[in-house]
Amino acid sequence: MITSISILVDEATYDITPDGMKLRAMDPSRVAMVDFEWPKTVFDEYACDAPTKMCLNITELLKLLKRAGKDEAVELSLDEKTGRLQVTISGKYTRTFNMPTLEAAEEEVPTPKLAFNAKIKATTQGLREAIEDAALVSDHVRIEVDPEKLVLHATGDLMGANIELKKGSDALLDLEVKETVKATFSLSYLNEIIKTAAATSDIATLEFSTDMPIKLDFQQPKEGKLTFYLAPRIEVE
């Protein structure tokens, strides 16, 4: 989960409330956005008395979290006096790390206001492979959806690729299309987003309209939410 965030941002501000934690952030070039929520039910234990913000260096946090093995419990606690986050990993033995928090960004990031003409439900794994196929030949891909199928179309300097996910195939679970839509997106962003999301999610929902941003929602095991928005590439001749 934290890995998914780290592909877009190095530093991020978490909104922490008695109900859970949230994060919304854009990558440095403001092309993509991640919208993440973990309600308190996701955690084994969750305690927060008053809403607060916590800005962390995600890259550093990730280093610590990677030390936790499969069956080990991780406890995160923020000491507001010292401004440090304590990371306790307990399993075979107990390790306690602490790391500084950073000055929280005041800027509230709104979500894009979008109306979608197509909605696709697919397996994350199937999408991931389709995107990896396209990435072999180009660095951007045109996604087209009509009532029958989803088509990925990539054209590189030398090679081209055409990937079809038909209605009823194993990878494509559902297709709701108001009108045929197509838009082009950067494969480096798509690839990174789907690759990391695949670690926590089996089913993805894509929504977009012609030459508009795409919304990628990755269904989480519990009640968590992991959604990405990615702006399109519009080639004008």
Binding site: R30, K113, D139, P232
Partner: protein, 452 residues
């Protein structure tokens, strides 16, 4: 004709026409037939057919003529004993790696030679002048293993001492034979003086740079950290690179000689990587900028866009220039990196890193962030490669100018178009970052009002 695997070479004695290229009749009479300059050319090389007279290669002047004339200006001063003031300068060659030839470079003169090996001072000098003083530098060669240089003995120790000196240092270079030049007629190597193996070496009192000396004695300081620290303290890139190449930095046991050509790019890369990390924390520039500089028929147009850090360098070579000798059309090479940097060596080589350092220096000074695209046109008048320093100093010169500022990318591109010979469309086509800036939308665009 299909080129055979084993090239046919013509030995030096068959290339006597070289001597006819000399402007100075007296030198020609003296040296005709002597062994001081060895040449080699493949049998079908253009130079052998052209003999400096017909401009078959398409360059505006014959590089062989330039080089040979400068070379023979020093030739009469050469003997087995070279006694002069080294700028200081050392060279670690690439042939035979890991058993390389290392050694000092010494001109046979006692004067202020400091600028002979200090590219920071060369910007604006004509190509003849640069070839001239480079040809003065006699290179002593000493065979040494790059890792076992500590045990290589006195000659290697003195070479290292010399490399760390701050000012020209008297050197007596004893050679096993009279130094001779070597000119590969169909290759484009840097202008270079004559060389010979070292028999004996004496170095006068060398005054060391205090900062460099400290890094040298600190065997717990990693090489990259030493490079960064010295740069922050204002030591010139060339001096850092020179010390780097003689294995003066790094953890004690890991020290090694680094080929001169590798050390240049290593230092450019280490320094710009470090600056990039800092630049990413700065606010974006407020406008579209164009910086320009032209030197040695190399024209640079540097675009800066108000966007997160990313970098691209593209160079276009006209037919007849160094890296496009026989082509009929312009050749363009380029490479780029995104916000997170790169882990592989850039396709276009050392120039990529040299220009990256120059642009990072400016952004660091202004404490600003930008997307940077360095465009370079190398014209037919650029008759021989003079080294990566040309790119670094040329772009640094561009950075010293007041930038042209624009409100839109289109206006900035229009300016670039007016300066370049190659149509802007071709540049855009080649440039990932310009295409990205033109076509990739921002997510912020969709946040304000609901778009139908």
């Amino acid at each position: 004709m299909v080129q055979t695997v084993k090239k046919g070479f013509i030995a030096g004695k068959d290339n006597l026409w070289i001597f006819d290229l000399l402007d100075d009749g007296a030198v020609r009479a003296d040296l005709g037939g002597s062994d001081v300059l060895r040449t080699r050319a493949s049998r079908d090389a253009l130079c052998v057919v052209c003999k400096g007279s017909r401009m078959l290669c398409g360059k505006s002047r014959c590089p062989v003529v330039v080089r040979v004339n400068q070379f023979f200006r020093t030739a009469p001063l050469l003997s087995e004993e070279v006694d002069g003031a080294s700028p200081p300068s050392v060279f670690v060659g690439r042939i035979g790696y890991p058993y390389v030839y290392a050694g000092p470079m010494v001109p046979p003169v006692h004067e202020d030679t400091s600028f002979y090996d200090l590219p920071e001072l060369w910007f604006g000098k004509a190509i003849d002048e640069i070839v001239g003083f480079r040809s003065m530098l006699v290179r002593g060669k000493y065979r040494v293993h790059v890792r076992r240089f500590e045990e290589a003995g006195k000659i290697m120790d003195l070479t290292r001492e010399l490399a760390l000196a701050v000012e020209p240092t008297d050197v007596e270079l004893g050679l096993t034979r009279k130094p001779r030049g070597f000119l590969v007629l169909d290759d484009d190597v840097q202008p270079f003086g004559p060389s010979a193996p070292i028999r004996d070496l004496r170095v006068g009192n060398a005054k060391w740079d205090h900062q460099v000396e400290k890094a040298y004695y600190d065997t717990d300081l990693r090489a990259a950290d030493a490079v960064r620290e010295l740069f922050t303290k204002g030591v010139l890139v060339t001096k850092i690179q020179r010390a780097f190449s003689v294995g003066a930095f790094g953890l004690g046991a890991d020290r090694r000689l680094v080929l001169t050509r590798w050390s240049i790019t290593a230092v450019d890369s280490i320094l710009s990587n470090d600056l990039m990390g800092k630049i990413k924390t700065f606010p974006l520039i407020n406008e579209f900028r164009v910086y320009e500089s032209t030197y040695l028929e190399n024209q640079f147009e540097v675009l800066m866009l108000p966007d997160a850090w990313s970098y691209e360098a593209i160079e276009a070579w006209y037919p007849g220039t160094v890296w496009n000798p026989s082509g009929k059309s312009i050749v363009m090479f380029g490479d780029w990196e995104g916000y997170d940097g790169r882990t592989t060596y850039a396709d276009i080589g050392g120039c990529y890193y040299a220009a990256r350092l120059a642009v990072c220096e400016l952004l660091m000074k202004e404490r600003r962030q930008a997307r940077v695209i360095v465009l370079r046109e190398a014209r037919p008048g650029y008759i021989m490669p003079v080294g990566v320093w040309q790119v670094r100093e040329n772009v640094r010169n561009a950075m010293r100018q007041q930038p042209l500022k624009y409100n839109t990318l289109e206006e900035a591109l229009k300016r670039v178009q007016s300066q370049f010979h190659i149509p802007i469309k071709q540049w855009i086509n080649k440039s990932e970052l310009i295409k990205n800036a033109l076509y990739q939308q921002k997510i912020t665009k969709y946040m304000r009002a609901k778009v139908p």
